[in-house]
Subunit: 226 residues, 4 copies
DNA sequence: AATGAATGAGGCTTCATTCAT
DNA sequence: AATGAATGAAGCCTCATTCAT
């Protein structure tokens, strides 16, 4: 109910519109992500969330269920968006190198544009209870599967020089993920530029830095080159 | 899973000795790291730690001070060891490429051999109170400074082809750090092999995969082959 | 398990009719008795009742008033039926022995046929608020008065050999009441047979086991043999 | 820790002594029984118990565990005492009639002397959680088994004229149990006299009112005759 | 006749910590 | 060096009820 079915520019508009009169559920969810990201799930009180959202704790439960429910909702939404972005990136690319670069850029972009959701999604898996964790892990596995397929194809085609594919995959994703821990929109480098840079790193790690005929991405803003 | 001062066979001996009468402080510290890693700082109760260590909560306070003190101790120790390892790796290497590879391997090795300490050190910075966090961040900065210097030298010397040095540093460290989240000693690949692989990735990211005359992992000790 | 105005075969018919479109009030009341009997008044939530009845809590309030109102309704109905049954039993009998046996049988029969209503009526007096409790206690007193009169007459007539009449009354009613705690229609003995047996116990306690010319249970209806 | 190993006059003395400086655990337990009896388990707040016992809720948990633990302790103690009393009553008697009378008197006596414990033990079985309920039901079954054996022997020996033994047992116990609902030490009749009277009822129900050569109990106080 | 939203009060329980012994 | 007792604050959550629609 928070993330729109289609991601893109439209979303941004919708968000800015709905923010003006965000419904209670959304206000609660937003407050929760913010606080979970700032303090951690366990260290965040339900009353803090309620206060932050401007509702009573009882209203919070009326709308969103338990604290655990809130976490599940947040993480599930995040995974769904991440996966959708990755699918779309692969679809838009042709050839293993472009696909890998696309996956890296999509990951970085999603994380950069949804910093706190991504951070929570990354850091709070252990805070999910047994069955909820299973659900999220399943989603995460299906996300990683997208990477695994691209990597395997690149190895088969000879585009990539990779030893252990799993090791490569984990290292590459982890590298892209790192943005969550230090990126800020206020920084000097645009998100798109960072995404390109990290995509370049991923290709280098795969042994095909020069595999892309054209620069990875054309839209890099002025003054953000290396 | 105490982190011994020296790693290797000696460690085992130390362990069997210390097991006979592991002092109370150590038992408490070990229990705390284990639980902080498993559940997170905020979600771990002081009584759980005490129970796990086989002491009363009162004894815990007597020996180790508050829960926050425990966390600080753990994180400070971890940072000190990490820094010591990095310093020693740089000292043993000659030339930017070897140094960078050494840093990567040292990071991976420390994290792999002290999984839970490394994980806590990574995940619980936000659980430190204001002044403690400042202390640890200062240590972390001095650690990153080691990387920064190596990177800068490599760029100056022309060994590395790196755009934004800070971005590279964060991405590389993050990649190495990832091992914390998935490595298990029971896995098929030895820690040394993983360390070499990731060091190779780092060099590739720096644009000098072929910069090392000899194979990256020449220093691998006996009995640790992949 | 609504208590029908008349018990017997007619009841079944009434049920099948009312089932088709049991009115909301009845559905709520039925759900309430069921849950009060199963968990107790205090342990039953108004939302559980509403859910069980298939209505919203708001609708519940609209139809039946508060939780306390529901309890009062249930208990008052139960007392009224119990009293009506006792009156009719006394009217149909002649002589103290028959009357006492009739009271016992009526009590057992009502409780057996309306297990949960009877149980709630018995167990939840303390859950009534001050003024409601007064109302129900008044009804209960008037019910016990019926027993008191029969007992007194039997003592005067010499049919009964009873020491303390109050003690006897309480013991006898309590004994009959016990059925609430263990009777189940699925058991091997018919309710009528149980009622006869307990009526016999009451007479024995009154010192006139042999005071009835004919067997106690002459009135047993067809098809209800033990 | 509340009920003494041996019941009897000594107990009364111990109680009065310990009451002067009752330890915290006992104070809590006593407050709990009192409130559970007065309002019911579900309707009693943990804070009410703590206030009544003069401790904080945290101290209550320190000493007695959860509300459910408190209930289990109370019920288990009550069952143990009841069973001990019944065993001792049977041991002191000779012949089915005396044994049955003894069981009845013991039951009435225990309930009369421990009104609130007995009441709670009777009324709150449904408030026990699954596993605790199983424990108490097991104890209750072993208690009823004592009655069952005496009854069976009396039937075999010809002392008792009883149809369905189980029905008789339930009715008799229920009758004795009733005292819980109306007895008060301030009443005109002594507990011993009531116990004798109810024991006489039980024998009458068993069809052997005159089976005892001597009066059921000699100690009946003056002025308490029928 | 019906309902979704809202709420203040309170439910039970655990928290990290202190202190007298 | 060690501990049992104690506590104020806070933990998450549910309560019965009302009310605008």
């Amino acid at each position: 109910m928070t993330h729109p079915a289609t991601v893109g520019n439209v979303e941004v508009i919708d968000r800015s519109v709905s923010r003006k009169a965000a419904d209670t559920g959304t206000r609660i969810r937003d407050a929760a992500v913010r606080l979970f990201a700032a303090r951690g799930y366990a260290a965040t009180g339900i009353r803090e969330i309620a206060d932050d959202a401007g509702v009573t704790t009882a209203a919070l439960y009326h709308h969103m269920g338990s604290k655990q429910d809130l976490l599940l909702t947040i993480m599930r939404d995040a995974m769904h968006e991440l996966i959708a972005g990755a699918r779309s990136a692969v679809a838009d690319a042709s050839g293993p190198a472009e696909e890998l670069a696309g996956l890296a850029r999509a990951h970085v972009t999603y994380n950069g544009e949804n910093l706190i959701d991504a951070y929570v999604g990354d850091a709070e898996i252990r805070s999910l209870d047994h069955s909820n964790r299973a659900r999220i892990v399943k989603l995460r596995d299906s996300y990683e599967q997208l990477w695994a397929e691209v990597i395997a194809q690149g190895v088969v085609s000879g585009d990539f020089q990779i030893g252990e594919q799993k090791l490569f995959r984990l290292a590459a994703i982890q590298m892209c993920n790192g943005i969550t821990y230090w990126y800020t929109p206020a920084g000097p480098t645009s998100l798109a530029a960072i995404a390109d840079e990290l995509a370049g790193f991923a290709l280098a790690m795969a042994g095909c830095r020069h595999g892309l005929a054209s620069p990875v991405r054309a839209q890099t803003g002025p003054g953000e080159g290396s």
